[in-house]
């Protein structure tokens, strides 16, 4: 069953169409990744989901009904640009953000303290936000996102600007929420994260959805003609070879796309014949990144994206 259905969503700002007739489905109980490079329309899509923007056309349905305030109250949203009231105290901040979601009382107070304890921040509950380190402020933001026990967790570029400890912490929270049967939807330009965490994805480029579905289906569909190769020695003889459609260089590994699935065997033979030292030959593996490049092309900023995600891993 689909928890959310995004149907022909379109949003234009002046002359720029940020989201262009986007349709995708988010199944119940899954981790869903909305993937695309910077400026592809991810944030706008999420803001449309959260009713922060009104769509020009199209709609979003929550289990068959148009979304509204009910969905907002049931969701926890962590925007990419995130800040908090600097002079407010930690506990007050948590309780305030729960209150505007409609949750008040002793239970939420206790729950807030439990989360603080879990993140080693209980002794800081009366501190002002401005006195906390940036990493600790991020922890407070995670707690705000999940404190009111939302059914939907929507995260916009959750890993950007995060240190490794908090990155792992957030991953933990995401997986824990999944175990509880919540729907997690996040946007990212970091393909590796998406690949490790997501069950379902939608790829967005220039506002259009260019690929969607379960990660497994997508990978098996694209891997049949793709080989991930790690080697020593020269493979330049493959350039322009009749069985090779395309070679992508990912640094440590090469992605080779052959013209027909049966050409894989021929390729392996060719490599052996040319005395290339094959250290890894994976014919069933294709990274999300490779699929993305194949579909969206390797425009200048994807190399930046690539670099960023390698730095962060």
């Amino acid at each position: 069953m689909n928890a959310l259905e995004v149907i022909h969503l379109t949003k234009t700002f002046n002359t720029i169409t940020a989201v262009d007739d986007a349709s995708f489905e988010v199944p119940d109980g899954c981790i869903f990744g909305l993937i695309g490079r910077n400026g592809a329309g991810k944030t706008t899509t999420l803001r449309l989901l959260m009713n922060i923007y009104m769509p020009d056309r199209g709609e979003v349905k929550l289990r068959g009904n148009p979304i509204g305030q009910e969905f907002r109250s049931k969701s926890g949203y962590l925007p990419e640009e995130r800040g908090l009231y600097k002079r407010m105290r930690v506990l007050d901040t948590l309780l305030y953000f729960a209150e505007i979601k409609g949750k008040t009382g002793k239970e939420i107070h206790r729950s807030a303290e439990e989360y603080l304890e879990r993140f080693d921040l209980l002794d800081r509950k009366m501190s002002k936000l401005e006195d906390l380190s940036k990493g600790n402020q991020q922890k407070i933001q995670f707690i705000i996102t999940v404190l009111h026990d939302p059914d939907f967790i929507i995260l916009d570029e959750p890993f950007s600007g995060m240190d490794p400890i908090n990155t792992n912490l957030l991953k933990e929270i995401i997986l824990e929420m999944k175990r509880k049967g919540k729907v997690i939807l996040f946007s990212t330009h970091l393909m590796d994260f998406a690949e490790k965490l997501c069950d379902h994805i939608a790829m967005i480029d220039h506002g259009k959805i260019i690929l969607k579905g379960s990660l497994q289906d997508i990978k098996s569909k694209y891997s049949r003609q793709n080989i991930s190769l790690e080697h020593t020695g020269d493979i330049s003889f493959l350039n322009g070879h009749p069985i090779v459609e395309k070679i992508s260089d990912f640094g440590n590994s090469k992605g080779i796309r052959v013209k027909k699935p049966e050409d894989i065997q021929t390729l392996l033979k060719l490599l052996v014949d040319h005395n290339v030292g094959v250290t890894k030959f994976n014919a069933n593996e294709i990274s999300l990144h490779e699929i993305f490049i194949e579909l969206a092309g390797s425009e200048a900023d994807t190399s930046v994206v690539d670099k960023v995600h390698h730095d962060q891993l």
Partner: protein, 422 residues
């Protein structure tokens, strides 16, 4: 309408504003500041700068000389200002030469001035004053007042007029003022209400600008601190704006109520007896009206200031957006001054029914004059309607503004925001 989200925002605003140190500080500092201005003004008025004036008084007619000597030596303000006076008797022909001779002393400031009272002054009251700074009003007004009294004495004494008649001639006209209203009996008024009107105008002017600017700053902080987006995922921008405006306005009204409480005590109890010249005649109803009117004024201006805050992301740019609002507050403030000459002047009568201006002018006008009930109700309705329109307009600008960062938008763009389906 009001829901739990708006209530939560209002509560947060109250917590932040009402229970803060700055609230205590401004609540007590602003009246102190006003008092300070009044005291400084008073001190400046006192300080006329004519202390230790050295004057020479030259009289042509010997009969006048003695009169003047007694008058000057008995005068209190001359004594307080420690004038040092010397008297001479001289004829018209000698005076010119004498002035020439004293030229050096005059320009060096050894002598501040020479007063010459010719024989003819008895008939035409025309005297001469020679000085480096002849326009010293503090000096000439004192001298001329005393000389006038002496001339009158001498003139009438020669005509054998009774002292009784002479005293009558010396008397000024005393205008007692009475305020006539429809309901109440005719009452004698003092300066009290005029002072009160001045205080009201000043309170409104100062606190509207102060609270408005403060709100603008917090909206800008939310915007630049990237808090808006998290808030907007739970709260609609209209709810957020409504909660913010309500919270700030309630804080403002409470502050104003604190400021007005001494006035209420002065007006309604006899604990502090004011001298009749400055007794205050205000009903608790007027004070209540003042608070209600102030609340509506706050709703209007805080909404506008919040909208301006949402447009800009730094203080410098915001200054350029804020001047139209300042004009909306300052022009009515200066209009209120015209009421101290005539509370019923046509400019004020029209302005008391105009949106924005009415908020300041109507309560001030009601303090110094009787205003027809229908006018009060009409202006109230106009103000409420203004709040509704402003809230709609500000809400649209706010919605687009708080999520927008980057270059400073042009006014034409902002007009477009109002039409956006954002």
């Amino acid at each position: 309408m009001i829901n739990y989200r708006i209530v939560a925002v209002v509560k947060r605003e109250l917590k932040e504003k009402l229970f803060s140190k700055s609230f205590l500080l401004t609540t007590f500092l602003i009246p102190l500041f006003m008092l300070g201005i009044i005291v400084v003004q008073g001190v400046i008025m006192q300080f006329q700068g004519d202390k230790n004036t050295v004057l020479e008084i030259i009289v042509e007619s010997p009969s006048l000389l003695k009169e003047l000597q007694t008058a000057f030596s008995q005068n209190k303000s001359i004594e307080e200002a420690k004038y040092s006076l010397s008297y001479r008797h001289m004829s018209r022909a000698q005076v010119d030469g004498y002035i020439e001779e004293k030229n050096k002393s005059l320009s060096a400031g050894k002598i501040d001035g020479i007063v010459f009272i010719p024989e003819s002054a008895i008939n035409d009251k025309s005297i001469e004053y020679y000085s480096k700074t002849p326009k010293a009003f503090a000096v000439t007004s004192k001298v001329s007042g005393l000389v006038n009294a002496c001339l009158m004495d001498v003139y009438f004494r020669e005509r054998n007029i009774a002292d009784e008649d002479l005293n009558y001639a010396r008397m000024n006209v005393d205008v007692k003022t009475f305020k006539v209203t429809e309901e109440k009996a005719v009452e004698e008024t003092g300066m009290g209400n005029t002072i009160l009107a001045y205080i009201f105008a000043f309170f409104l002017y100062l606190s509207l600008i102060m609270i408005g600017t403060m709100t603008m700053q917090t909206v800008m902080d939310e915007k630049t601190g990237r808090i808006s987006e998290i808030l907007l995922s739970s709260v609609h921008s209209r709810e957020l704006l409504a909660g913010k405006i309500l919270g700030v306005s309630i804080t403002g009204v409470i502050q104003m109520a604190i400021w007005l409480s001494p006035i209420l005590m002065l007006a309604s109890t006899t604990w502090f007896a004011l001298p009749p010249q400055i007794s205050i005649d205000v009903s608790p109803g007027l004070l209540l009206y003042f608070l209600l009117n102030y609340f509506i004024g706050l709703l209007t201006f805080v909404g506008l200031y919040a909208a301006v805050g949402s447009i800009f992301d730094n203080q410098q740019d915001a200054q350029s957006g804020v001047w139209p609002l300042l004009l909306l507050i300052m022009i009515p403030f200066f209009m209120t001054f015209s009421m101290f000459n005539n509370p019923d002047n046509p400019v004020v009568n029209v302005a008391s029914l105009l949106p924005f201006a009415s908020i300041m002018i109507m309560p001030v006008k009601m303090t110094v004059a009787d205003v027809a009930v229908w006018k009060i109700i009409l202006s109230f309705c106009i103000n409420v309607a203004t709040v509704c329109i402003i809230f709609k307009l500000a809400g649209k600008i706010y919605r687009v503004g708080i999520l927008r960062t980057g270059t400073k938008p042009k006014w034409s763009q902002i007009v477009k925001w109002i039409r956006y389906n954002y």
